[in-house]
Structure formats: C-alpha cells, structure tokens
Point group: C3
Chain length 487, copies 3
Amino acid sequence: MGNFAACCRGFWCKAKNPDVRVSLPAVCFVWQIAMIILFGLFVRYDEESDAHWSEHKHENNITSDIENDFYYRYPSFQDVHVMIFVGFGFLMTFLKRYSFGGVGFNFLIAAFGLQWALLMQGWFHSLDPADGQIKIGIENIINADFCVAGCLIAYGALLGKVSPVQLMVLTLFGITLFAVEEYIILHVLHVRDAGGSMVIHTFGAYYGLTISWILYRPKLNQSKNLSGSVYHSDVFAMIGTLFLWMFWPSFNSAIADHGDGQHRAAINTYLALAASVLTTFAISSLSAKRGKLDMVHIQNATLAGGVAMGTAAEFMITTYGSLIVGFCCGIISTFGYLVITPFMEKYMKIQDTCGIHNLHAMPGVLGAVVGAITAATASESVYGHEGLVNTFDFKGKYAERTPAMQGGFQAAGLCVALAFGIVGGAIVGFILRLPFWGDPSDDNCFDDELYWEVPEDEESLPPILEYNSHMVGKNTDMMSNFTVEQS
Amino acid sequence: MGNFAACCRGFWCKAKNPDVRVSLPAVCFVWQIAMIILFGLFVRYDEESDAHWSEHKHENNITSDIENDFYYRYPSFQDVHVMIFVGFGFLMTFLKRYSFGGVGFNFLIAAFGLQWALLMQGWFHSLDPADGQIKIGIENIINADFCVAGCLIAYGALLGKVSPVQLMVLTLFGITLFAVEEYIILHVLHVRDAGGSMVIHTFGAYYGLTISWILYRPKLNQSKNLSGSVYHSDVFAMIGTLFLWMFWPSFNSAIADHGDGQHRAAINTYLALAASVLTTFAISSLSAKRGKLDMVHIQNATLAGGVAMGTAAEFMITTYGSLIVGFCCGIISTFGYLVITPFMEKYMKIQDTCGIHNLHAMPGVLGAVVGAITAATASESVYGHEGLVNTFDFKGKYAERTPAMQGGFQAAGLCVALAFGIVGGAIVGFILRLPFWGDPSDDNCFDDELYWEVPEDEESLPPILEYNSHMVGKNTDMMSNFTVEQS
Amino acid sequence: MGNFAACCRGFWCKAKNPDVRVSLPAVCFVWQIAMIILFGLFVRYDEESDAHWSEHKHENNITSDIENDFYYRYPSFQDVHVMIFVGFGFLMTFLKRYSFGGVGFNFLIAAFGLQWALLMQGWFHSLDPADGQIKIGIENIINADFCVAGCLIAYGALLGKVSPVQLMVLTLFGITLFAVEEYIILHVLHVRDAGGSMVIHTFGAYYGLTISWILYRPKLNQSKNLSGSVYHSDVFAMIGTLFLWMFWPSFNSAIADHGDGQHRAAINTYLALAASVLTTFAISSLSAKRGKLDMVHIQNATLAGGVAMGTAAEFMITTYGSLIVGFCCGIISTFGYLVITPFMEKYMKIQDTCGIHNLHAMPGVLGAVVGAITAATASESVYGHEGLVNTFDFKGKYAERTPAMQGGFQAAGLCVALAFGIVGGAIVGFILRLPFWGDPSDDNCFDDELYWEVPEDEESLPPILEYNSHMVGKNTDMMSNFTVEQS
C-alpha cells in the first residue's frame, strides 16, 4: 500500500518534461485524419452552397442570387474570423516572452476546434433527417468560430502554464461540451443567445477557471520575471483588443435575424462598447497613484460591454439601455482586475493569466441576466406583434410562450451554461493533470523557449542587460575612484 | 493691480502637474452619465433597426430583408470603424515612447466622441418631427465615426503635448462644432461631401492646428530625445497607415448613394491612393542623401490622395482625374513634411507632431477645390439626366440648381469649414490653456510615463544603455591599459 | 577583344552603388505620368459604376440597387486588398532589419502594379468593342489586386537582395506577362481558376525563383548576421500570416460565380486552411529537437492550403476533399522549408528568402492538378445540369465541352503558367542583372540602412550590446579580482 502510494506520487509528481516531439505531432496527425474521415462520412454542402442552388432557386421562387444567405452573413463572418485569430491571438501576446505561444497556440487550437465544432454542432443542429448528413453553409462556419471562442477564452486563464498538447485536449473536450450545452440552451430550452453571453462567455470562462483551479501551481511566482509585459508587447496586445472591440458588433449580429435583427444587434453592441471604454479609463485612472492608466485594464475591460450584450443585443433593449450595460461592465471588469483577480489567486487558488473572470465570466453572467430581464419585459407595444414573434421565435411549438416565460427560460439557460462550465472544467482539469502532457514546471512558465525556436537577440537578455547596467554603473564609479587614487 | 497681474501670472504659469487622478475619472463618469440620460431622452431606433421593420416592409412593398440599408452599408461601416480605431490609433504609435498614449487616448476620445456625435448630428439631421426624437440606423453610426475622425485629426497636431482631459474637452467642443458646420455645409448650402474633404479633413486639421498654435510650447526641444521613433515603433505605425490606406475607398463610399454612387466612389479613391504612393516615394527619395526614403513620408503622404478625393469621389471625375489628384497630393504632402512643417514650427509657432497640415489640411482644401470644379463642370451628357439629379440631389427645393451654381456652393462650403476650424480652434485653444488640465511640462512631452504605468524593461532605458555602452567601451580600454601596466 | 572583355567585366562587375536618388524618383514619376495618360486614353467606368446606372437599371429591368455587382463583391474586395497590403507586406517584416523594406517596397510595387494591371488586364478582358475603351468596375479592381499578388510572390524570393528600382521593373514585366498568361489560360483555353493556383501562384513563384536563380549571389553568407529574425519581428510577421490566412476564403471566392459559387469557394478554402495548420504544427514539431516549433513554418506553411484550393475551391470538391488538400499541403510545405529550400540554395543556386517555393510553387502546382482532377470527374449527378453548366461555364462555343475535356484543358493551363513563369523570369532576370539598378552588394543585403533613413536606437546595436555584455562580465570579474588584490 505504501509502495503503491509512493508509486502514485512518483507518477504524479515526476519532474516535468516539456518535450512534445512525439505527443504534439501525434495528436495533430491523428485528430486531423479523424476529421477527414468524419467529414467524409457526415458533412455535405447545404442547399445554398451546393451546385444545385440554381435549381433550388427556381423551386422556391427566389429571384436573385443576392438572396443567398452568404450575402447576409459573409461580411460578419469575416469580422468574427478576425476576432478569433487576430483578436484573441494578439490579445494574448502581452507577455514579454510568450507572444509566440499566445498567438501561435491560439492559431493551432482554433484551426482544430473549428473542424470539430462543425461536426459536433452539425450533429445537434444541422443534421438532415433525410440522409443523416450534416449540411453546412455560412451560418455553420460562423457557429464553428463561435464555438472555438469558448475554448480560446478558457485558454486565457491558462496562458503560459500549459503545453500545446494540453490545449488540444482542452479544445477537444471544450467543443464537445459546448455543443451539448448549446443544444440544451438554444433548442431544448428555446433560449435566445445570438452573441453568446451564456453559451460562449459564461461557459468558456468557468470552464477555463475551473481547469486553472485544478491545475493550481503553488510555486508559480518562480516564473514571476516573465509574467509581465514589455513596452512593445503591450502595443501588440492592443492590436488584439482593437480588432475585438471594433468587430464585436459583427460578433453579436452575425447570426441574428435578417433585417432589423442584425441591424439592431450591431447598433446596441456598438453603443455598449463605447460606454465600457469610458468607465474603464475612469476606474483605471482612479485606482492608481497620480491617475496613471494600466494597460491591462485598457486591453481587457474595454471589451466587457460587448460580452454583456451577447444575449440582449438583438432585443429592443433601447440605446440608453445598451449604454447602461456598457457603463456597468467597464466598472465591474476593471474592478475585477484590481481586486478580484488577486483575491482569487491568493485565497481561492485560481491563477487566471488574462483575467478572463473579469472580461468573460462576470460580464457574461451579467449579460445573461440583462437578457432575461429584457426578454421578460418585452411587449407587443414595443416590438409589434410580428416583431415579437420573430425576435423570440414564438413559432411552432413555442407559439404559446409569453415574454415572461421566456425570461424564466433565459435564466435557466444561464444555469445550464454555469453547470457545464464548472462540471466540465473539473473533469477536463483532472485529465490535464495526468503527468504526460508535457507542461512546463512552475519555474518555467510564460516562456516561449520551451515550445519554440526563439531567435537569439538582444531582446532575449533583459535580466542580464539590467544586471549589467547596474554593474557597469558601479564599475565606472569604482573605476574613476580608482584611477584618481592611482594618479 | 500689480498684485492681480502677479496673481494671474501665478495662475497661468504655475508649474505643470500632470496628475489626472481626479479630473480624468470625473470627466469620464460625468460625461458618460450625461450621455445615458440624453440617449434616454432623445435616441430611438429608426424604422430599419426597430422590431417594427417587418410591418414597415409590408407597408412599403419591400420584398426582401436584403433591402435593409444595413446590407448596403455595414461592410463599409466596419472598414471605417477600423480606420478610426486601428488606422488613426496605430498611425500615432510612431513615437518611441508615446505608443500607449497614441493608440490609447485615440481609443478613449473616439469612444466618447461617437456617442456625443450621435446626439449632435442626430439633432441636426435625424430628428423625427413627429415625436422630437432622434432615430438612428447604420448611416448614423457611420456619420458618428466620421465626426470623430475630425477630432482625431486634431489630436494628431497635439500628440504627446496634451493630457487626456484636454483631449476629452477638445473632443466635446470639436464634435459640437463639427455638427453645426456639417449642418450648414450639407443642409443649408446643400453641398455634396460624401468623404468629407471639407467637413472632416479641412475642419479637423485647422481646428487642431489653431489649438496647437495657441498652446505653443517654446521649450519643446527639451523633450527632443523622445520626439523621434524607434525601429519597431515605425513598423507599428505602418499598421495604421495601411489600414487607413486600404479602407479609404470604404470611407469615401460609405454614405454615398446606393448603387453606382458607392461603386464609383470606391474606384476613384482606390486610384487616387495608388497614385499618391508613387509620388510620395519619388519625392521622399529625391529629397534625401543617397535617395534614402523617410518613414514619416511613407506613413503619411501616401494617404493624401484619399483625403483629396473626399468630395469628388462620388462624382464622374473620371479614372485619370482621380490619378491626377493622387499624383499632386503625394507631391504636395511630402513637400509639406520636408519644408512647410519645419517652417511653420520655426516662424509661425505651430508645432504639428504628426504633420496634419500636410496630410489633412492641404489635401483637404485641394479636395474641396477639386470637388467644386468637378461639380461646376458636370453635364447631362456625362451623367445622364437622372444620374445628374441623383448625384447632386437636385430635387425638391434644389430642383432648379445648376451644376455651375453647385460649384459655387461647394466653394462656399470650403470657407465655412475653414472658418469653423480656425475660429473654433481659437476658442477651444484658450480654454485648453487653463492651468488645471494636467498637461505635461515642456521637458516632459512625448512620454507615456506621465499618464501610464509603463512596464520596466530594457527598452525603457535607451539613454542609459547607450551611455553604458560608451562607458563600457572606455572602461574596457582603460581596464586593459591598466592591467597591462599592472602586469 | 581582350579590352572589350575587360570592359564588359568592368561594366558588369563594378562595385555596387545602392544610390537610387535619381533612378527611383525617375521611375516613379515617369511611370505614374504614363499611367495617367493611358488611363485618360483608355479607361472609363463600366455600366454599374457610371452615373448612367439608373438608366441601365430601367433598361434591364433591374429592380434594386443591391443587384449592382458592387454589393456581391465589395466585402471580398476589401479582404483581398488587406491581403495584398497588410498580408504580403507584414509577412515580409520577419527579418530583423528589413521590416521597412518588406512592408514599404511591397506597398510601392503593389500601388504601381494595380494601375498597370487595370490597363493590361483591361485590354485583354474588358475592352468594350463599341468604343475601344476599357470599362472598369469592382471585378476589375479585384483582378488588379490578384495580378499584383503574382509580383509580390516573386518579391518574396528576392526579399532583401534587390533595390526598389529593380522591384519596379520586376513588377512592370511581371504584370505584363501575367495578363498575357491569364488571357491564354482563362480565355483561349477556357480554364477555370478563380483563386489563381495556376495563374497567380504557380506563375508568380516560378517567375520569382527564376529571377533569383539568375541573380544568384555567391557571397550572400556575408550578410548572414542580418538574415534572421528577432523576437518582435516574428510577431509582426504573424500579423501578415493571420490576415492572409483569415481572408483567403475571400481571395478564392472574390470572383467566383454569384450565389453558390462564392459560397462554396469560401467554405472549401476555410476547411483546407484549417487542415494545413494542424499538419504544419505536426511536421514542424516532429523535425526539431524537443519538439520545438519553428516560426518560419507557422508563418508560411499554414497558408499552403489556401494556395492549393485556388482552382478547385469553387468546384464540388467536397468538404473532406478540401481537408485532404489542406492536410497534404501543410506537410509538403513544411517539408519544403526543412529540406528543399536548403537543397535549392546549396545545389541549385536558388536563394529563396521567404521560401516561396514551399508556399506558392509546390502548393500552386498541386492545386492545379487537384483542379484538373476535380474538373475531369465532375458529373451532372453531383452538380445538376444547370450547376455543371454554370460552374464550368459550358456555354456559347464551349457548350459541347465535357468535364473530361475540361480536365485536360486545366492541365494545359498549368503548363502555360509554368512556361510563362520560367521563360519570363529568365528574361527579366537578365534585365535585372544590368549594373545600374542600385542593388546592394553581397555583404549589404537584408539591411534597411541602404534605402531608408533608419532611426538610431538601442535596437539598432545588437552586436555592440552583446559584445558589451560579455565584456562587462569579464570586466566585473577582473575588477573584483583586482580590487581584492588592491585591498
């Protein structure tokens, strides 16, 4: 028994070996081949992307090619695509020596995740009962990008502390959980969540935070010298921030209803984001000596308004309602960076590198609550009869649902997202604690050297340089004293 | 009386204190709350973004959702949005130690400005007489971004020399002046200016230059060590340049007429910009020893063609006409950087950090003149009867206006823009000279340290490092001499 | 005779003088003026961008402005435009001291090339027989950007080794060759190549490689200290990579058929690119000690799937077919960087700075083959009768062509592209060997100092700094020894 315990300890606690030369290629190859086989078995073009479209047009009296959904959604798709790869990717370049890992691993897991998401979401949402196959079009690839966003949010909590193989595993399970959670929320509960405050942000954030809690590193402060930013890495991160901020109206409107739905979702998100910026600057300045602004706040909390409008953007939340949401989120999120993140790290053993609790978890939950309230208070006088039916999709078996009931279901959706995030995160967290994933040791975190060939240059030597400049100073003084004595 | 003068002098000339811990949060909070209240009182969705859209469609025999103005303008809107936040923002990161301020304050004032612009422009242009409220849709948010551009241009002249609180004040007044000026030019004079050569660029540039003239800093050369670029900050600035350059066709076509108007505006701008690039490279190379190109020219003067096409882009200026405009602007603008900016700084006491006189003022005025000439020479043979009426909106009470008259009104519009820029800039300049705005002293300009928590890294120590490397060199020499002597 | 030979040798081998103060401005001015004259003689708006559009609408029973081709293609155009200027431009910033040249010269030659392309392509494709003039609209400017891409690919092989004047010459001839080649492939052979696997990538790559072979520099290793990257230049290059990667679906769908053609092309490209990413990471990791990833692979080989889908993207290649293409290309391209590029440099005397052989040549050829096979195996059961006719344009004099014949013509198109690239490259290569173009000497390559005013900063002194840090270390030791001895 004692032997077994020792053996276990040895197994769990053996020295970290961040060599991924076998595991990373194996995972990439095997999973990509699996994707090809599964796509071969299951995925086909839908009627709008298939060459039979011209016949479909005649049959459905569609008079013009511009009625193809492609033209409604492709510009938004490209904006969302930029958010996923440049937005999330560059937002994570802020660390002084983890920019390759930030933007590079983001690239890898997003490229894998979108394929798996097309399958998982396809089975749940786009299965053609006639032939048992998934029919994909522009809306599917937007949804695949959305699904990936959940996993990238989770990566934010773990940035610099996990291996690429762990990230692939996190993505595989994350996409799977996402698809089930989304099916329950959107289809079983018939909840509206076009921009994903619940489905994407709440789920993704609690999924990542729970994993980070389970992967707690007690000696992470040994990597402290690399856990900050340098001047230019902060400017790189602003590229990510701005592309996320600018294109968030597209994110929240991408799969909203054609016409006024997309139009209104874009305007509401635009306004909420603007308000977030002002309150973020205000709190950031208020909290520091001499009113100095903190780049971490500006890079992140300015985006909170977009997260919080994920559910309500397509509703008639009013323009000032959107501003109020953004106003509150900028405050809450900045406050989170100032108080809650340090608290969580110290007392709750949750190390959250990018502060996703402040940017995604809290605003996501708030957005779900705002959505539920807005839905519950909807009325025919505000929406018009047809508008109400269209906006909340009170059709078919949901024709009898009232706004008040809808509000209740929206709240239930939030609970589902939280449950999936926390329970799913716990399970995946334990899987990621297995000792063969190639993650770094506590004193080796936030360092690209482990997984990348890093060019040797003057910038790679910050501690030595600083050391030298001090020493040189001393040196010079001693020298001049000395030469004086000599002369 | 002497006491009073001394007191005044003390008030005006007291030592600068760049602490914005009270003023910046106060301004952000109070103004954002004011926005929420004003939006609550005045701003509603228009018929295309309201949930009653489906009823509106039936009433107006609109057969398809794709007829919603959203689908005509949203892709252009997103491009304009990128220009405002990434384009202007990154263009201003070129200084070696003011990248945070360049992109960060740009972000702040644009986010505030667009809200205030929606209100101010709404009162003048989009007020629904039926209920006294502003109805907003996609065109309003594009116009709000345009309005903000005027203030960001002005910021270019002041970059590194003002506090964020001053920028907020500049924006508040700038947007207000802009809306009035725009109302007079576009509505009272019925002038066409889709891309804003007059309304945006001429106004914004003279507004900023006049303020800079009033805020003249005689001892600015004390900050000279930070007034240049470093290698990577110049590359960052190219991100701004290129996004401005690439998306300028969207800027000039975003609110042009549906159909051929937007189509033609995009093509004309595309051509003018291409020509600007070649003449900018030519003049830049011609002016330097061994033909070496100057990044300042490439970053800025290449854009001048887009500015100068702001008025005429939607007209039948012809493809070669567009090339000629771009050709001239590249020359004029680069020449401005070489000759006029130093002249203005030395003899006219106008310190223009980004050279907005070369990029916006001169090309903007030129663009207004080109627009007036193109309008005055328009004819039915070139436009067709319907085309002429549509392009210049010779409808309703303007049905009798001839192209020649239109040309005159276009020229009058330029005068209005100039007057608003200069007079408005003078007033705001004096307001900004008040001593409590927290601006930096003359020897502290162009430095992020004042308003930002700057990460300490090797890059923040250029003078020390250089100093050391010299000292070390000496040191080593002395050392070797010394050890030789010793041995 | 001996004299003549010596004279020749003197002429060809005289010391390099990279002064472009006369030649660069002359080329820019003269060619831009020529463009203006030629545009004045030949280029007019087409019916959709002309002010007569409203009359054209009535005549053709077009009911809505949204039917203007502008609305089908403008979003894709802007994405392509970003790829040309930011994508290609920033991809070439990876060298430690050639970022200005990478992004700046890319800007210059693209801005010239698109004008010349509008003319050349216009004469071949858009000449209005009624009046002998070129009528341009949105599709023309997309095609001009495409045409430029061919020359930018060629620039990739020559990066850091040529003068801007040489690049202008390369572009002038490259565009000309491109237009002829494209005419033969698309019109004479009636080949489909919407994303240009043959027309753009194969041609551009072999054009550049042949030029590089002729301009072989035997002593290029004298510039070795500048031929690598630094940490932040690699992050800059990722901006280029990601914008190329994200917008490649727009590239391949931009001029595809309205409706299902554009829709399918975007989806297929999206999938192929995703698969490329996984296999690139796999091979990169597999090939290095401890599985460390190489930024060169990630920056380039991840894009190979987009290149290889250039021909087949609009066909019914199936979703898994797209994944298979991407899968193979990621492997081939990364393998190329590991093995073929060093081999070509050592044994074939081809110096390929960016590795365009791996990113464009091999995937381009593969894409042409895939396209030919996909076309040859097309059937009415898969496409539907109307779909088959539309996709392959089996109309008019091509009404009798069968898919099998089409496959043969596709293969013939590949041969044409190869022939034009290699023969054209050989001719242009010899022209570029003339001794008056201002190119750098072998020990001065990859250095912005030659053609740019480079700001002096700490980052420009890497060798000195490193030298110092070593010396200081020694110094300090000696010092402490010494002071001990003294005391």
